[in-house]
């Protein structure tokens, strides 16, 4: 597996979008525009279990430098449920720097 040499937030957002499509391939996922403010649960109608699958998919792309389980464990459940695309991107970018 290769990792991006430089960290670019736009690229991370694109990766999140790609992972979303991979995860929701078998679900009714409309190709809605994804912004930093998009909430996974409220706006995209993901179940919390899908956040696990989504971040596992992203870990495949970014490797050990991201530790989503540890990050989730540091958040309150309400924060996980309210998670936005931008928050996830910020975490990834922060870890890759």
């Amino acid at each position: 597996m290769t990792s991006p040499a430089t960290v670019d937030e736009e690229a991370v957002l694109a990766e999140i979008g790609g992972a979303l499509r991979a995860v929701l391939d078998d679900l009714e996922f409309e190709d809605a525009p994804i912004t930093r403010e998009t909430r996974f649960v409220e706006d995209l109608d993901l179940e919390s279990i899908d956040l696990v699958t989504l971040t596992s998919e992203l870990r495949e792309r970014y490797g050990d430098r991201v530790d989503f389980p540890a990050w989730f464990a540091s958040l309150e459940l309400s924060e996980i449920i309210g998670l936005t695309v931008g928050q996830l991107a910020d975490y990834i970018v922060g870890r890759l720097r």
Binding site: V41, E47, V52, T53, A70, A73
Partner: protein, 270 residues
């Protein structure tokens, strides 16, 4: 993420740890209907991984992103799944089983039927599979299914318990209305009560003091030969998700004991 085919079903499995083998394995088994592996993934699972254990979590049949067959929800089906999954994952050594609510019932049933494959069982707010348990659980599931046919129920749940709980309940309707789970639980293969006296596995049962299950602690210590109990004050049935900062260290301390022998083992004090 792993999609694992076993017994004709496709299981959603998550593993934490380095996965190189040679380490002790902790298997986390979630509860029924509104539950799935996130109850561990979002709470205590990373602590086990950080402490050096291989961690296995999976969505049980009919739950989360695992296949939801129309029938086949007896306790023996759930504990049979656990056996198949561990075989498929190549986990051959004795494992530490942690079960939340119904997951503890599955863990205990598995331990009874697979001697030598379980190092310890930690149940959080769980009962062993007995006739009384099967009838009660079946009644609860059937009652929930009936109530959820009333379109006023979900809005009431959202208003009372919040949007997240309402989403979980809405999800569970596929299981409660689309399968024979209530009937199947009632018809479960229940072990003879005498069989429990031969369970040579250390068990720690954790209860929330405000839960109506807490009062079974004395009875359970009499039923299981190597059982201790622990009560968490200020919490009810949802003690795992409600206070992971309390239950996490409790779980970790229990597993760290290793359970080579029971005597002299340490029990966390309240």
């Amino acid at each position: 993420m792993t999609r694992l085919d076993a017994g004709g079903l496709r299981f959603n499995v998550e593993r934490l740890g380095d996965g190189t083998g040679g380490r002790e394995t902790v298997v986390l088994v979630h509860g029924i209907a509104t539950d799935n592996l996130t109850s561990y993934y979002f709470t205590v699972a990373p602590e086990f991984a950080a402490a050096g254990y291989d961690v296995v979590m999976y969505d049980q049949r009919g739950h989360g992103r695992t296949t939801r067959p129309p029938h086949g929800y007896g306790i023996e089906d759930f504990s049979g799944d656990l056996a198949l999954l561990l075989d498929e994952l190549g986990v051959t050594g004795p494992v530490h089983l942690v079960g939340n609510s119904f997951g503890g019932t599955v863990a205990l049933d598995y331990a009874l039927h697979h001697p030598g494959r379980v190092a310890s069982v930690l149940m959080v707010e769980s009962e062993p599979p007995t006739d009384a348990w099967a009838q009660k659980m079946s009644g609860l599931l059937a009652g929930s299914a009936y109530q959820l046919h009333d379109e006023r129920t979900l809005p009431w749940i959202e208003e009372t318990y919040g949007r997240h709980e309402a989403r979980l309940v809405r999800w569970s309707m596929r299981l409660l209305h689309g399968t024979s789970i209530a009937e199947d639980i009632a018809a479960s293969r229940i072990p003879d009560e005498a069989a429990w006296s031969a369970l040579d596995v250390p068990v720690l049962a954790v209860y929330g003091a405000n839960s109506d299950l807490a009062e079974m602690a004395d009875w359970l210590r009499g039923l299981l030969p190597r059982c201790r109990t622990h009560t968490v004050h200020g919490h009810g049935h949802s003690v795992l998700v409600g206070t992971p900062e309390t239950v996490g260290p409790l779980l970790l301390d229990w597993v760290r004991e290793g359970h080579k022998e029971l005597l002299g083992a340490r029990v966390p004090t309240p």
